[in-house]
Symmetry: C5
Subunit: 357 residues, 5 copies
């Protein structure tokens, strides 16, 4: 059931509103949104966390590069004020708070607008999914996370703080790369969990699966459908970044986006492979179920067929005819047992020969 409910978020509340109307669509949280600002550059790094949009507006960040991360887009007012302050297009803001976007990239000239789905594996083998919107400007990068439950960016923050690698010197397009790479890495983690469940299911298949097996495979097929919807459009978006037509993307970063593109293709490959494996297992399960039932039915029918003539024979000698020679015989009863055993053995032999038994 959880698989299906993923596909249903109410969008219709927005019907009839003018474009750019900021209406939050998605799961509602009662925790308040948070803003974290990381300014960095070769000269150093500053970090601030705000819970109010006013605090953010009062403390402009002066670093070479600025990464503003907003968690919790259900705070529509916050997004609207932030958007107006930085003059983002109303359609961008609308898409940020409408968390049922499909992954895409849009070039608005001054900045690129990227929408992704971020998967976080949960402890029960399942995963949660939230929308991440990225606005990539010349020296700033905004990320808007749907939820406030955490993200997969801790390692990126660590690299900025530690100052190792090129991340402080390479510009915000490289930061965008690092974030997207972390997200795609998250896909691998989810897929590995998925792969383990497939191996589990395959093992179970060689034993005696029951009806619930069918529902589990169907549930996994639904999750695969969901993953495909997240991953296929991602490919187009990353392909845009790899081509790097926008002046916001430096040539040196292109190589890295090509790397992410490769990873995305690998994710798609894996998803498609899992789909094929699931289909194969489903077919295998169905035909082995059907085979097993047929075997049982055959066995039972064979048993029944062996007793049919025997029951007929004992019926014969239960008849009450006045003149009934065999009944008079001294050893008639024992002769009959002999006959019946012979008949039974012959039939068993015949069924064995035909390999029905």
């Amino acid at each position: 059931m959880r698989g299906t409910s993923r596909f249903h978020k109410k969008r219709s509340v927005k019907s009839g509103l003018p474009p750019g109307s900021l209406v939050h669509i998605g799961d509602v949280s009662n925790k308040s949104a948070q803003i974290s600002v990381i300014g960095y550059g070769t000269e150093g790094i500053t970090e601030h966390h705000y819970e109010q949009i006013d605090q953010y507006l009062l403390n402009p960040c002066e670093s070479t590069f600025v990464w503003v991360n907003v968690e919790g887009v259900h705070d529509v007012e916050l997004v609207r004020i932030l958007g107006e302050k930085h003059t983002f297009h109303p359609l961008v803001l609308e898409d940020i708070v409408n968390t049922v976007q499909r992954p895409k990239i849009e070039d608005y000239g001054d900045y690129l607008f990227i929408v992704l789905r971020m998967l976080c594996p949960s402890e029960d083998g399942d995963f949660s999914s939230e929308q991440l919107s990225i606005i990539l400007g010349p020296d700033y990068l905004f990320t808007f996370q749907e939820g406030i439950a955490g993200d997969v960016f801790e390692s990126v923050r660590g690299r900025i703080r530690g100052g190792k690698g090129k991340i402080r010197s390479m510009g915000v397009d490289y930061l965008a790369y690092a974030l997207i790479d972390a997200i795609v890495d998250g896909y691998f983690t989810v897929l590995e969990g998925f792969g383990e469940r497939i191996v589990d299911i395959e093992e179970e298949l060689t034993q005696s699966p029951d009806q619930r097996f069918l529902h589990r495979i169907n549930g996994m097929k639904k999750e695969i459908i969901y993953l495909r919807k997240a991953v296929w459009p991602l490919r187009e978006a990353v392909s845009f970044l790899e081509r790097g037509d926008s002046p916001l993307l430096h040539d040196t970063t292109r190589l890295y986006f090509r790397d992410v593109y490769d990873h995305t293709i690998q994710v798609i490959d894996t998803v498609e492979t899992y789909r094929d494996l699931l289909s194969g297992m489903l077919d295998l399960y169905l035909s082995s179920i059907s085979n097993r039932t047929n075997e049982v039915m055959k066995f039972l029918t064979v048993i029944g067929t062996i007793f049919m003539p025997l029951t007929f024979l004992v019926g014969v000698y239960g008849m009450n005819f006045k003149h009934f020679p065999e009944l008079e015989w001294q050893n008639g009863y024992f002769y009959l047992w002999g006959l019946m055993i012979t008949v039974a053995l012959l039939m068993v032999a015949y069924f064995r020969k035909k390999s029905w038994l």
Copy 2:
């Protein structure tokens, strides 16, 4: 049945007529057609409603932008006079009254001709569908609705009347965007109703579905086929608008059409997902039906197989042989019961071990 009748509208009445012959194809209404004219601009708004084409011709609208909305294209004469007055191409008029067009866009130089299908959800969970033709000129926009039962544009009219947002200042291409956006939003509403029915069906699937279930899923599959026919060509049409090759489309409006394009892709995505889900449920239903029947048959056959040897045994001691030692035994009858109970228990144990019971 309702699903199928949607695919059958008589087109053959038109065979043999020259091009541009105005023959209404579609459901006939006996209500008269209506014309509503909304003139608007930054200076203000005027609204008129006419039931006669003469009234319309006598009252030219002098506003900056004019939106003429015709409801009920079964009034072929009205369409013809209107078309001649504004010198629309005969093929355009022919397509307007022939309400079995597939969605498309055609560039006639002076104006664009757009055909869409507008879905209105009805109260019983189903939806009605009618053709909407749009003629987009430099400063006028004509919409021709197949039916007169209402539309999904009330919110757009409200925005024009209220003067909020950019709608009064942006030209008729923006109005076209607003109308198409309203239609695509209507698709989402229909799809949400559809999605709820899918969840219902899925719930039912976990309980004990009967034969009608099959017909319901098949009915929904037919509706999905119908939706796909409406949505896929829409994508091409909106893609044309997004590219904006025509001088009738301003650059500032392109961004909005890109937004509609995104929504269209999402609709297609959802339709395809629902198709996959329906297929999955159908397979699941069929195999669980088959499984259940097999289970029942197996159980009954097992029962039968247990009674077979017992019936044979009682048959044995119903025989009338003269010389029949066991029958003479004092406790023969009770011994036999002992034997039969033992046999039955052994067989049940065997079937349990094989997990056939």
Copy 3:
């Protein structure tokens, strides 16, 4: 069977002949071929009918535009003489008499060569199919019909004779449009008959279909395969005419070819929809057949299972043990009936609860 024989026309008689060899492939008729010549223009119209090629050669037509219609391409000699007189390429003549061409268009510089399939609905709900070849020159148009049984062009002739519309003033490319439009309109007529048969079949499906049902659906699937083979390549051919790269096609006619193109797409859409509907019905039929059989088997097995223990019980009291207490009881027989009725009722109740009965 009729569906399949459509796919088999002997082509191999042509093996080994040089290109341009005129060998008729198709159904042979013993009626003689006919030539009709319609000369027309803004100045008026002349019509002649010839049964001999000599008569045709002696009477050149002097009108602005000339439409020569040949019925019955099995008269290979006639086609050859005509072709030589007008210097058509041998490959063109070869394709005209070889009536198993797939729809196509070929640009020979001086003229366009178009091959189509013309469908004529027959009175029994089926349709016949014949090849129509069109040669479109600057001021002449030749049509070669495979059969002589009539065509779908009577309305076009009526429009030329009546002089209504633009047909007399627009040139032969417009005439070609009118003919192709008539053919595509014929497709709609055939498809409507097809659609009605689908509705019939669907109705039948809700009642009790038998084995012939399967053959009927299969027959319709074969006809759909045939229709697809006729329609898909037509799309490419009409698309060529719509693009209008050839100087033989005027800009004003392009709009009309775009209209035909739209209709072709609609035909393809309908064909594909019918294919999907047929597949859906086939699946529905198969699973309902299987369901029904399973229901019957289950019911019968339940009945059998109820009588099994009862038969066992009466067997018990048919035994001849000397010492058999129950048999001595005064009301033993009635007690047994009580027991048996109780057992039967309990089993029925059990099966009801399990909803097996």
Copy 4:
């Protein structure tokens, strides 16, 4: 089995050899290879047959156009010497003797290298397949046939000898066209035989097909797979010739290659249609088998179910209760028969009404 073995020719013997290594892969023949040289032109024709490569080398042909036909590429030495003499690229020679190439065309500048599969229908309704390699130079054409069992070119030779048509004056590209046309015509012959087998099978299907039927359809499906592998790449190759980018192909010949291209598309169409028909027949067969079995089972179960209560009844009156009123009745036995016949008739009527019988 024959269908499958077609897919297996040992290629691995070539592993590890440098490119251009001439290793014959294919069926080995112990007949010696043959060279036939036809020189022709408007001035006349000369024909020579050699069994030794030396004879060929000593007798250069002086005609305008030369067609050298080699039968039996298992004579690797002959191919090598010939290739060196005419300085063909080693990779070309390698592909000639490696007879598991897929159809292709390669432009080597001085000459075109074309690989095709030539199908020869054999007398038992089956067909044999061999590789034909063509090297098309400015004034010479080499053909290398895999086998020495004959070819489909006799009619082409006849046309060269007879000097009819344009074949002597048109150059070797026209000769290449004539040969490829003859090969594609051969495909039609094979496909017609195939089509007849399909009609046979279809007829059989309406009667009572058995298990071998399944194997026959599967065998034909395998042949269709094989044909598709031969035909699809051929399309690309002929498409290259139709475009005619190479100076070796004259404009006048392009029209002819377009004709062959059309034929190739028709072959593909037919192959795909046959595939669909076979799939349809297989489905029809499987479901009618399943239906028939179900019918039989239902009938038998109905019979069993009718006798169940009767057997129970006679069991009742076989009991030995002391006090058993009915047994004492004068006409009890006849009353029972009346009861049993009534029960049987009621059940038959019930089953009839339910149309189970």
Copy 5:
């Protein structure tokens, strides 16, 4: 099981690391890595083997062309030092040690980076698969093999050592061709083993396959999925080499890459054919299993149905009615046997006529 485990290599250990982090992903070996350096040119050949990276660094190779082959990329430190020494891009090194790459080619300007999968058939009919990374520079070529168990390049080394053919004079791009050709040849070897297993399975299919058959076919389907994943992207990579856009690829080598491209297409063709054959066999198996079970059930039910009326008859004459005329008859018992035999024969005849027996 072995088929499935191929798809699962842990990638998630890399999550969160900066790009260019060298983390080995793949099977870990405890043997140490090896470096072999072959310097060659028209002047001669030198060969060295090192087990330590230091030895390699101390002995630069002065030949015209240098081929450095590293076996065992689990020695991450070695790869890092080598990469830094030759200034390869960190992403290249990352991909080398991450052995779950899909085949690809990347142009880094100074060198091309190619990733392939190398298949080595193992003795048990199965095959092992390892990643091969190639770095192709102007006069050097590095190959990095995932494992140290050997490769398919021995014949290439032999050709370099022997100095036969063009390999010493043609540059490293030709060497790259030779290596890729050897790998693709290895694919053919694996596929031939696969083809033999298919023929085996097909033979088995005509006999009496059991449930394990299903698992074997499913296992082979999984291997086909794996092969497709290796081969399809290879096609794109080789296609890049064939187009030869990079200055590192000489025109003379392009022909050879075209040859490899052909072989790759053939491999894909074969893989797809095997997939179709496997699907066909699976369907055939399932329907023959189902057929066979149905036959058995039918036979047994027929037997049961024959004994039903007989058992009923003997039951009749086992009844204890006081007044029972037949029982008094002198030959009643023998008349009954006559009746029963007649009934049995009639039923057998009926079932024979219906061909149920």
